[in-house]
Structures are given as C-alpha cells and as structure tokens.
Symmetry: C2
Subunit: 160 residues, 2 copies
DNA sequence: TTACATTGTTAGTTAAGGCTAACTTTTTAA
DNA sequence: TTAAAAAGTTAGCCTTAACTAACAATGTAA
C-alpha cells in the first residue's frame, strides 16, 4: 500500500500541503498555478494519488490530503527545508536559488543524508558560543579561495 | 547544438567515459552491464547521443566519445566526485551509499552549488594546520547529538 | 568451415507525465 | 434567471526511456 511515490507525485502532495495552510480550500487551479503545470495534469495526478489513498478529491470540488498523504507531504517538506537551509546558511547560496535547488534535490536524497544535513545545519547554527569561527572562515574561503591569513577570526576561541 | 542532456543521457556519457579508461574498447554490452539496463536501451541511447554529436558508434562496432561528449562526461564526473567526497568526508556517509547517492544528485545540482561544495571539501581537508577541529567536533555531534563537552578537541588551536 | 554462442539491432509495448482541444460543470454578473 | 466566464474533466497526443521478442551480425570452437 505504501508504495514509493515519484518525484512528480511528491511535488503534488507537497504543493497541496502548502496550499492547505491558507484559509481558502484547495482547488485544482491553485495547484496548477503553484506547480506551473496545466490543469489537466493536475486532474490526472489527483486521480493517481486518490487511487493510492493519499488525497481525496470530489469531481469539480475541493482537494484534501488523507492522513497518509499528510505524512508524506510533511516528510517531503522536511527534506526540502533541510536542504534549503543547508544551501542557504552553510553554502551561502542566494535564497531563490536555494529554494529552486531544494525542490529538485528533495526527491533524491536518502533519509540518512537528510538526517546528517539536518544535524549539520543544527551544528552550524546552534553553536554553544555563538556563530562558530569555522563558518566565518568558510565564508572567507568562499570569497577569497584561501583560508584567512590569521587563521580563524576571534570567535574561534569562543567555539573552542 | 549544445542542448542540455537529460539525467539518463548524462549517465550514458559518464559510463562510456569510465569504461574508456580500461584497455578494452568500449562495447554496447559493457555499457549495458555498467548501467544495469538491457542492450536495446543502450543502442537507443547511443543513437540519440550520436545525433547530438556526442558519441560515435558504428553498427556492431565500438563506441567512442566526441570532444564535446568528453567535455560533458567529465563535467558530470566532476559533479559526481564533488558530491561523493562531500557526503563521504564531511557527512560521514559510508562509501557505497555516498556513491549511489552521488549518482542521483549529480544531475540536479546547479553549477554554483557544485562549486561551493567543492570549495567546502577543499576547505575541510586542506586545512593549513591539519584536520580542523570543527570537523572533529562535527563528527562528535553526529554521534552524540551535542557539541563536545570541552569545546573542540585540541586541534582546534591548530586551526586557529 | 560450418554450427553455435555471443553480441547487437529492430520493432513494438509500456508507463510516467506533460500537453492541447473540446466538452461539462459551476460561478458570477447583467 | 439566464448568459458568459471561470474552473474542471476527458480524450487523445507527444516524449522519454525503459522493456521483451525476434532477427541479424560477428566470433569461436569443433
């Protein structure tokens, strides 16, 4: 029953979950806009997802997620956010690119890798002594292609 | 002319480039084995790639890459290696999983992100004072879910 | 040098997932 | 309250990329 969904189907589930957060009930046209596909593609996808027990969708009516659908959507979204944060916070990729890229990678990363990335971002941001020196140093390295001349900036001591 | 190749076509180019490094001339059967697809799929792919000017392939004969084919294959391989190294060296993903995962992600990462990842791995490994303390600290964090009790281990001083 | 195994190709099928065109249902505004 | 607009669906088509079955070429061993 819990068959693995394709990247495309995961995108539909994720989009529905996002739209559900607004006050409006979710409609085919909204999903279409959100994903940049035409409405017939949405109808088609919803039929498949309904068969798999992940959405409910009455003809010409509203779209909703089943419990299992919510579970998967949240999982995808979690992967998305983890990747986006990593790209943005650690690799200093600009916000829009990071979001785009997260959308593509979120479907191909293993659970383990996502876990590690998550811990990594955590490690980088919840440092007990403020932003760790190595992260400053990394940014310097991104910019200049070499380590800072005097080693880490002052905060490295704090991190130690 | 330089039309963007699909993930699948990139895989074929990459596989051919790998096989070319052995002493044997590259054959359809080898590509088939290397990618885990049947021979007709290979023939089909080679026809497309030949049309795009990326491989040459005489019927019932050897397979080779054109200059442009080599360029793309090397680019894919470079992405692959960068990702694999990051997963393996920084996130401590085991070797086989890292390779598998790199195969999937290599097709979806932007050039910028690959560059940053590359610099990151470089930053982490070519530290002027030996393995940086924060990397040890990161591994501790992976294992125990929290920063090391006494801050970085001794090598952090070295890094600073 | 012929018979058989291996290798490669062709033709046709399937599945996913997009699209357009045409039709139906629902909503809205005159 | 009815006509037009908007929203949704259906049907049919296209592309990618795999597959099997059947056929063709090549290589090898008796």
């Amino acid at each position: 029953m819990k068959k693995q969904q394709t990247a495309s189907m995961e995108d539909y589930l994720e989009a529905i979950a996002m739209l559900r957060q607004g006050e409006q009930p979710v409609r085919v046209s909204q999903i279409s806009k959100a994903l940049g596909v035409k409405m017939p593609s949405v109808t088609n996808a919803l039929n498949k997802l309904a068969e798999d027990g992940l959405v409910h969708h009455e003809r010409y009516g509203y779209v909703g997620l089943t419990t299992e659908g919510v579970r998967i959507a949240e999982d995808v979204f979690h992967r998305h956010e983890t990747i986006r944060l990593f790209l943005s916070e650690v690799l200093c990729i600009d916000a829009d690119t990071a979001t785009d890229e997260a959308c593509r990678i979120e479907h191909t990363l293993s659970a383990t890798t996502v876990q590690r990335l998550e811990k990594f971002v955590e490690f980088a941001s919840i440092c007990p002594y403020g932003r760790p020196g190595w992260l400053e140093s990394l940014r310097y390295y991104f910019k200049h292609g070499e380590h800072p001349p005097n080693g880490c900036p002052s905060k490295c001591k704090g991190h130690k």
